[in-house]
Symmetry: C2
Subunit: 510 residues, 2 copies
Amino acid sequence: MLGLVQTSLGVSAEWLRDNCRCAECRDAVSGQKLFDLADSPAIAEIAESAAEVTVVFADGHRSVFDRAWLAAPAPLGHRDESSKDLWTRTDVVSASWLAYLDDDAERLRCLDSVLRNGFVLLRGVPTRPGAVLEVAETFGFVRETNYGRLFDVHVVDSPNNLAFTSKPITPHTDNPYRDPVPTLQLLHCLENAAAGGETTLVDGFAVAARLRAEDPEAFAVLTQTPVTFSFADATTFLSAFRPIIDVDPAGRIREVRINNRSMQPGREHGPEFYRAYRAFRALLTESQAAFRLEPGDCLLFDNTRILHARTGFETSGSRHLQGCYADIDALASSAAVLRRTPVAELAAMFTGPGAAAYLGEPVTQAQHMLLAGAAALHAQAPDHLVAAALLHDIGHLVADEQHHDTAGARFLARWFPPAVTEPVRLHVAAKRYLCATEPGYFESLSQASVRTLGFQGGPMSEVEAAEFAAGPYAEDAVTVRRWDEAAKDPEATVPGFSLFAPLLERLVRP
Amino acid sequence: MLGLVQTSLGVSAEWLRDNCRCAECRDAVSGQKLFDLADSPAIAEIAESAAEVTVVFADGHRSVFDRAWLAAPAPLGHRDESSKDLWTRTDVVSASWLAYLDDDAERLRCLDSVLRNGFVLLRGVPTRPGAVLEVAETFGFVRETNYGRLFDVHVVDSPNNLAFTSKPITPHTDNPYRDPVPTLQLLHCLENAAAGGETTLVDGFAVAARLRAEDPEAFAVLTQTPVTFSFADATTFLSAFRPIIDVDPAGRIREVRINNRSMQPGREHGPEFYRAYRAFRALLTESQAAFRLEPGDCLLFDNTRILHARTGFETSGSRHLQGCYADIDALASSAAVLRRTPVAELAAMFTGPGAAAYLGEPVTQAQHMLLAGAAALHAQAPDHLVAAALLHDIGHLVADEQHHDTAGARFLARWFPPAVTEPVRLHVAAKRYLCATEPGYFESLSQASVRTLGFQGGPMSEVEAAEFAAGPYAEDAVTVRRWDEAAKDPEATVPGFSLFAPLLERLVRP
């Protein structure tokens, strides 16, 4: 019997037991773990094949692991320096707002720029007050603060913050007196007729990394000395006690917090702290991207990494920005979803919304579709019909629409040719057709299918049926429909989605 | 000349220079710093008196420090264990929703319970859907996530999360796959007719501190090993890489992140990690507060510290909770504002909204009131009239109201007797009275004061004037009015608010 130490697979027995994906160990629906690893598991037996590794534990529990899954690198976080491209001088990565809205690849390029470079500049965002909130909502959620969901940056008569004056502002991160700090900031320029007021960005991670290389003592002081940052007005007293450079347990830089205006040096801070602080500040001037925000520009940047500054400006010309805060975890999530391949996205739909009950049927929607796909495979159908069978009800998973047939076909048309999407679009029509033309078909329907037939328009008229039958995909749609009706057996063995993945990959349009 | 080392005051020369409060160094309005400490400052001279310490730097800059301010302890953060009351068994701190809404002291007790004990239970919150958002908005801001601004916790047909099933849930923190994690959670019970479903809370900080004492090796492993937590569905892929116990640079516990369902152990995690994890988990069962949420109960807890769990329940009776997330920094701010003494609150108003321009006058509203107070002091007026003069326009700072006289008096009545509030309430009437009865008075008014006279009803009629003069506070109101009119000289030396603080303290009702 194998012991408690590392297994021959390069991972521990604990890790294997903890990662068992069987139905007993993971909720089939949410993928969340259903057990607590209470004792050290011992391994009784390991059997390896080309595709899988089967582990039998001493208590008899049997776990089967996919080899590809075992070999995949573990995902890392998106916040620390290891996933960033540090820069000293950099071009401004920009994109047009319309392209960002219309083109997933362009949107992903922008979000990735925020994740890797720390910022992106969107151009041509409508200069409508409040538009900055719409920008934030394309990738995440607005973080409301005492400044509101939205704040206006312009010269005001009664500023409670220097940002609202025309004075120059040195490089800083926003809201360091907040804990947790808002991890993203958006600044949208509505009007800029003032002379001056240029925006400068500094990569705080790059500067901190340089400090670590050139002056490790100063770096150590700034990572180990918490500092009080605070802000007060009539309705607010915010105070945070955090180091200027925050590192993770492995020493990786993960957050820079620097704001000369709101830093309240502790009385224990002596020459050593100030020497380190000055050394860091001195480097901040050497790593910059500078540009002038024009009306319609919306700057989006990582407020835990990128310092921003503004030169002074004349108050004679008006200058009006609107800003808001948001969080980078949701942005990273949006980027990860955009990065999913079509097949990965479909897989996520099968385990996510696909796990919903299939109205009135004894199987879930995902099980129903997997069974329809299995029936097509069993019939040795061509790839496009297997895909159509597998995906025929995908419309139920994309929207709360009445017409899941057309919604599904429209969704799939992003990736698949008509040979896949047309049978999907016609699979409800095929039912109405079969009810009208095939004796005994109506009687074979499940109760739920009979109920929905009503909403769907009932059996076709003779004219409708003739028209349907004349269409180029009628036969395929009818074939898919038969697998659909058969795929509701709660006793049937449901295959995994991965069985279909290679077939789908082959069908996806480049 | 004194050098770079600690001064005789127990703080460094850098610290003193960095904390100079003079008008050149701090923005008079926002209190934010206007300079960067570029070089090591040297001190030429220190002169001490009973109330103040004057420091002259080598470059000639002169800073004056209040002794009390120098002696005050530095504020600390509100997140780490040093500001918490750790518990093993605890009573449930609860309060009625109406008392929380009506009584500042009760509200402060509740917010302090979240800060110190990690949670509070509000009872009698209306069982109206969405009410949980109103609770969050009493102290801060809702943190919207992929679950929405608000999420429903009940048995649903297509759960994408175990929380939405009737299965038992072991102690955990929410959203560990988010970075930053939402620091507060609210759970509002709308309906609970199901058997079972008891809520259990565990003080994660207390358990982590116990682990540190009893098993320092395990504690070290859990603070130094980042773990991947992740969550995926069709539209989301969230992933964070953080240790289970996060400590600050001084080793103080500041965040516990534990969720067996969404933890994705890294393949590098061996027996050592699992031993530590199990040791921590084992202690979690020994520190609990347990109760059943009844309709109208709203539980508010620190999601970085308090683990929550739920026993399984029967799906036969319905159970419906609504939840939302928020952040503890805003809650701490609300508590700090409630903790302000009346005089501190007034002081904050003078430096915050009081810095607004005084419509059409060459001084700010705060300067105008300080000058009126100074005029009363100069006239050796009794305390209550000095206070009335100082505070006569406070109504401008509390609301955008037309009637700043009555608004101000109402606001001040929380703390001050009628001898202060009545002259404030009547100071506009006194102007209308003087215009009607004193030849030459109208001509002495500033242009802005003439303009507002129109909105205010113009000079009094004879009947009105007679009625006014018969009132008990008419004479005081007229006296205050004369200081008011005189207090608009932009060349006058404006005293600090602190000059009046002792006098105000004496007048505040216990």
